[in-house]
């Protein structure tokens, strides 16, 4: 059913069909008539650099079928700017489109272009929250959020509270943990090097671990902070022992505690203890990685191997 061919608004455009390149093209797709027609009109308008408003409808049509098309977005942005189009209206449209195509990444590039041009982050946090209600780990949205924080200096505008709220909701949301790291350590200032910040972050991770000991995210965060502050892992030795008592191998409550303790023992040259911890991991608490724990054990046996 031709859509553009019968529309008087498009009567001056000669559609440009696709040359698919020979008798045996690779990855040929069963295009719908609708898609083929729209793409033929898109090629025609792009070829003549048509910047009229009707192009917005056409690009919208194509984006709905193929949101990953890498030049349709660039072309649309140029048309919008040429027409001095109301960019708020574009954002409204983008909101619907982003909710429809959760996994698409070009949408967020385009949003960045538009919001950058608008020069205002108004309403963005609310929309991001809406996206997170569908998928609180959406990678593109988190990446966009970081851009937004930097672009509009939102460091102290409720970000840390928002991310704490999300961690409270799901203490295993690693994306939220990562965003916290970005907020604390990604800021271009030296405040994050201060001792009280390091202590605060260690405490935050510890509290989350107490809540759910078998959760990799806060353990990774804890180790990350220690490494960042150049503190030895033994700094949290007693804390970890609370989840994996050395004298009671049946009472281990977290494989991550045991893993960390193996590193503590290594650091403190308690080789026997380290081997005991690694054996427990391999045989009982984390057998899926038995070969890795064996490998770590072998490394311990080797006389100071070159890094």
């Amino acid at each position: 059913m031709p859509k553009y061919a019968e529309d008087p608004a498009w009567s001056d455009v000669e559609p440009l069909p696709q040359n698919d390149g020979g008798p045996n093209p690779l990855a040929a797709i069963a295009y719908t008539e609708e898609y083929s027609e729209a793409m033929s009109y898109l090629r025609a308008v792009m070829a003549s650099n048509d910047m009229s408003e009707r192009v917005l409808d056409l690009t919208e049509d194509i984006i709905n079928m193929n949101p990953a098309h890498y030049t349709v977005w660039l072309y649309r942005a140029k048309v919008l700017f040429n027409l001095n189009y109301d960019l708020r209206k574009e954002i409204d449209w983008l909101n619907d489109t982003a909710l429809k195509h959760q996994k698409n990444y070009q949408i967020w590039q385009h949003r960045q272009t538009i919001i950058n041009r608008l020069g205002s982050a108004d309403g963005e946090t609310a929309f991001i929250a809406k996206m997170f209600s569908k998928d609180p780990k959406n990678y593109h949205v988190w990446s966009y959020r970081q851009w937004l924080v930097r672009r509009f200096e939102l460091w102290d505008e409720g970000e840390i509270e928002a991310v704490e709220g999300m961690i409270k909701e799901d203490v295993r949301n690693n994306s939220a943990w990562n965003h916290r790291w970005f907020l604390v350590f990604g800021r271009d200032s030296s405040a994050h090097k201060e001792q009280d910040v390091i202590e605060r972050e260690l405490e935050y991770a510890k509290k989350a671990i107490v809540l759910a000991p078998q959760n990799q995210s806060p353990w990774n965060y804890l180790r990350g902070v220690l490494r960042y502050a150049e503190l030895p892992v033994s700094h949290v030795r007693d804390f970890a022992l609370g989840f994996a008592p050395a004298d009671s191998p049946d009472d281990v409550r977290s494989s991550y505690a045991l893993d960390l303790l193996a590193d503590v023992y290594e650091e403190q040259h308690q080789k026997e203890e380290a081997i005991k911890a690694l054996d427990l991991l391999a045989t009982k608490y984390d057998p899926i990685r038995a070969r890795y724990w064996e490998y770590k054990k072998n490394l311990l046996e080797q006389p100071t191997a070159a890094a």
Partner: protein
């Protein structure tokens, strides 16, 4: 609990891929139209990995495939992602920005040509390499396309770095500096850029401070391998060189990166497994590494449940199936078996995974009865997951599947074909003196050194 060893249903996979090659992909792929070159790569490479490319296509067909790829070559170097942006005779300076070459498409086009046995003689090599250098930003990262006024479009993203490293390796090997008057990309800057994307937990993300992700981690490690800038290898081999000649390498802390990669293996296989057990007594290490799956298995989430659990032996029944996730605390997905496994493969550490449980996951949970693999259990197959499932098995000597180069993600046969091309050897020989002084090994040599190692280490 089945004790039989699962198997790859090769005839079905072959049928699936032959259908993808010779008939139209269904409507749903319209959303992937702009990455047709990538789909083409998956289809052709899958048939090659199954060792059926020559037996299931005629020479004339293969010639047509090669011609189609060259049909997508861009007049100014590089390749288009799909034929749809080509304006044909209407192409001119003003509409050129809407029809650019695409970096991932260029990598996949070259890789597919190699698999098809082409000698790359029709590639506009100098134009392509010139364009490649223009695609690099001052921070070292690469973009996806060149837009109006030479603006580099597309996100700052490790994927493009991998493709850039790959295009460079394919078209000019390990030679540093200008080749035939075309300047090199800024290799050091690219390595620094990858270093900047290392995360606090040992993984790598798409850009600084973004979340660690197995796909991006693979791209970063693959890129370093293409550039011969991994911590072992490059550094170790070049220790004779004067101090200031030692090039910088990526992966500032190899140990924690390996740790992060092996941590991706998980028994959490579906959304039900991922039920949040926060503040629940059963959430302990004794419930196996992945507490979630235990909770499902035992069907209790209460104090009473914990009490009943207390005296039960912790037999890891679920160890039968363990796939890979792409990020911490996410569920398993077929493709990450390659992204994580391939990363470890490049680092010569693939033997550290639980291969048996991973194989069971792929063959019993996501392998589909019509052939191919789905993303997760019970999902229909798609080209992307079907290829990466197969590639993951190829990493660890699956019977009936050709060995794979973890860096290029093509068969080792294809890699050897590339490295044997006479023009390419000439390019490398043109710089032989310095190349030798650096003691660099080709990928086939570096990866070949560990061939059969997996079997040896996992035997018994």
């Amino acid at each position: 609990m089945s004790s039989e060893s699962p198997s790859l249903n090769k005839p079905k996979h072959l049928k699936y891929w032959t259908r993808c090659l010779k008939t139209y992909l269904p409507h749903a792929y319209i959303a992937n139209d702009s990455m047709r070159m990538t789909l083409a790569f998956f289809i052709v490479s899958a048939l090659d990995l199954l060792d059926c490319l020559k037996s299931h296509t005629t020479e004339a067909e293969r010639k047509d495939y090669v011609d189609w790829i060259y049909h997508c070559q861009h007049p100014h170097g590089g390749f288009r992602g799909f034929p749809a942006t080509d304006f044909g005779e209407l192409r001119n300076e003003t509409n050129a920005p809407w029809d650019p070459a695409n970096l991932p498409a260029t990598y996949f086009a070259l890789a597919t040509l190699i698999i098809l046995g082409d000698d790359l003689q029709r590639v506009r090599r100098r134009a392509c390499l010139k364009w490649l250098a223009e695609m690099q930003r001052p921070d070292g990262s690469f973009g996806e396309t060149l837009g109006e006024n030479g603006v580099i479009e597309g996100g700052m993203d490790t994927r493009f770095g991998y493709c850039a490293g790959g295009v460079r390796y394919i078209l000019r090997g390990l030679v540093d500096g200008p080749v035939e008057g075309v300047k090199d990309i800024e290799v050091d800057k690219l390595v620094w850029c990858i270093r900047g994307s290392e995360t606090y937990d040992g993984g790598i993300s798409e850009a600084p401070f973004h979340e660690a992700h197995a796909g991006f981690t693979y791209c970063a490690i693959g890129c370093l391998s293409f550039l011969d800038r991994l911590p072992h290898g490059a550094k170790a081999k070049r220790q004779d060189a004067p101090e200031n000649n030692i090039p910088i390498t990526g992966l500032s802390n190899l140990d924690i990166t390996i740790r992060w990669l092996v941590s991706r293996q998980t028994m959490t296989l579906d959304e039900e497994d991922a039920v949040d057990t926060r503040m629940d007594e059963t959430d302990t290490a004794a419930t196996c590494h992945d507490a979630h799956s235990f909770v499902k298995m035992g069907s209790f989430i209460s104090t009473a449940g914990e009490l009943s659990y207390k005296d039960r032996p912790s037999t890891p029944t679920q160890l039968q199936w363990a796939g890979f996730n792409g990020r911490c605390n996410k569920i398993a997905d077929t493709c990450y078996a390659f992204w994580a496994g391939g990363s470890l493969g490049i680092l010569n550490k693939v033997h550290l995974i639980d291969h048996t449980a991973n194989r069971r996951y792929l063959l019993e949970k996501t392998q589909h009865m019509v052939g191919g693999f789905g993303k997760q259990p019970a999902d229909p197959p798609d080209v992307y997951h079907s290829y990466l499932g197969l590639a993951a098995l190829a990493l660890v000597d699956e019977p009936g599947v050709k060995p794979i180069s973890p860096t290029l993600c093509v068969s080792k046969d294809a890699l050897r074909h590339l490295e044997g091309l006479p023009w390419r050897r000439k390019v490398e020989a043109g710089d032989a003196a310095s190349a030798q002084a650096r003691g660099t090994d080709t990928l086939a040599v570096r990866e070949g050194a560990v061939e059969g190692k997996y079997a040896a280490m996992s035997g018994g």
